[in-house]
Subunit: 198 residues, 2 copies
DNA sequence: AGTTTCCGACCGACCGGACGGTCGGGACCA
DNA sequence: TGGTCCCGACCGTCCGGTCGGTCGGAAACT
C-alpha cells in the first residue's frame, strides 16, 4: 500500500493551495498579493514562503492537482463504462459534476494559463490533450462499432463542442439551483449524445 | 444619414484598443504594462494617457465594443430568421462565426471580468443576459409552437449548454484548420438543435 | 500675406506606492 | 542542539499615472 503519511507541512500546503485557488478565482492571479493569501490563511508572508518557493509555484500546484484528478477521473470513468457510447456519456456526466463541484479551481485553470511559465504551459497542454484523448478514443470506438451513425462533423470537433458545453458550467452553475450537478450532467449527456445514435 | 465623420483621435483610439486587446489576450490585462501597449502602438505612455483616462478605461472600451456588436448581431440574426427554430440555429451559427473571427477580443471579455470595477461588471452582466434572452425567447417560441418536442432539460440550461459549446471556440479554433468558421457554425447548430425536433 | 494665437498630439523624466521576495531572529519540539 | 514553524522589518523593482514642456499646423486677426 502506498499510504503516504501526510505530514503536517503537506496539510498546510493543501490548505494554502485551497485558499489561494478561491482567492485567485475571485480576484485573478496577478491581482492577488501574497500578503492577501497569507492573511486569508492566517499566516505571515514569510511563512508562506516557508511552504512555497514562489507565487508561481502556488499556481503550478493548483494546475497539477486539477490535471491529476481530471485524468484519474477520466480513466476511471472509461474503465467502468460497459460500452463506448456509455463511456462518452459518462465522461460528459462525470465532467459536469466535477466542474460544478470545483468551479473556483476550474476557473483558475481555464483563465490563468498565460501566467504559467512557457515550459509548464506546454506540459499542461499535453496533459489536457491526454484528457481529450479519452473522449476521442471512446467516440472513435463507438463510431467504428456503429457505422450507421452519421456524425455531421469531425470527431475532434464534436469532442471540443462537448467539452465547451461541459466546461462552461464553471461560469454559470449556481449550487443552490434547480438541478444537482448529477442531474445536470445526465441531461447534458443525453442531449449531446443524441447525435451519436441513429 | 448618421454618417459620423470619425476624427483622427477616434481612429487612434480604435487602433489602440485593437492592439491592446491583442496583447491582453496573450499576456493578460494585469500582466500587460501601459508601456508595452504604447510601444506596440508606436506611442509613448503619456500619449496613451492623452487618449485614455486610465488603463481600466481601455478594458472597459473593449468590453463595451464587443457587447454592442454581439447584441446587434443577435438582434439582426433573430429578425432575419423565418421561424423560431431557424432563429436558434442562426444564433448558434452566427455566434460561432463571430467567436472564431474575434478570438482575442472574446478571450479578454471572458477571462478578465474580475478586472472590471463592480459597477461596470454588473452592467456587463445585464447586457450578457440580454444577449442570452435572444436565445431563450426564440427557444420559448419554438417550444410553444411545437409542444410535441420533449427537451430533457430546462430551456435556460439548454441555452447555457449551447453558449458553452459555442463560446468555447475562442479557446481551440485555429484559423487555418479543416473547417471555415461558417462550416463549423452550421455543423454545431445542426448537432445542438437535433434535440429541438421530434 | 504675414503674424500672432491656440490647441491637439506628442514625449522624457519623474513620483508614490505596491508587490514579490529575503533576512535575521524568536519559539517550540524532539 | 538541530530542525520546523513562524514573523516584523526591510529591499529592489516595476508600474500606473503625472508634470512640464516641445512641435506643427490650423484658425484668427491685421
Amino acid at each position: 500500500m502506498t499510504e503516504t503519511a501526510l505530514s503536517r507541512a503537506d496539510l498546510q500546503r493543501a490548505r494554502v493551495t485551497s485558499v489561494s485557488a478561491e482567492i485567485f478565482s475571485r480576484r485573478g492571479f496577478r491581482a492577488t498579493s501574497m500578503n492577501e493569501i497569507a492573511a486569508a490563511v492566517g499566516l505571515s508572508k514569510p511563512t508562506l514562503y516557508h511552504y512555497f518557493r514562489s507565487k508561481e509555484e502556488l499556481l503550478v500546484r493548483i494546475y497539477s492537482d486539477v490535471l491529476d484528478e481530471s485524468l484519474a477521473l477520466g480513466q476511471r470513468t472509461v474503465a467502468a463504462a460497459p460500452t463506448p457510447l456509455d463511456a462518452v456519456r459518462d465522461l460528459i456526466t462525470s465532467r459536469v459534476v466535477y466542474t460544478c463541484e470545483h468551479q473556483a479551481l476550474l476557473k483558475v485553470c481555464f483563465e490563468e494559463e498565460h501566467e504559467l511559465p512557457p515550459e509548464l504551459a506546454e506540459q499542461v497542454l499535453r496533459r489536457r490533450r491526454a484528457f481529450e484523448q479519452f473522449f476521442v478514443a471512446a467516440l472513435g470506438r463507438h463510431l467504428a462499432e456503429h457505422p450507421e451513425v452519421r456524425l455531421p462533423m469531425a470527431p475532434k470537433v464534436y469532442v471540443n463542442m462537448c467539452l465547451g458545453a461541459v466546461n462552461w458550467c464553471y461560469k454559470w452553475y449556481r449550487p443552490g439551483g434547480a438541478n444537482t450537478p448529477t442531474e445536470l450532467g445526465r441531461q447534458m449527456a443525453a442531449t449531446l449524445t443524441a447525435a451519436l445514435t441513429a
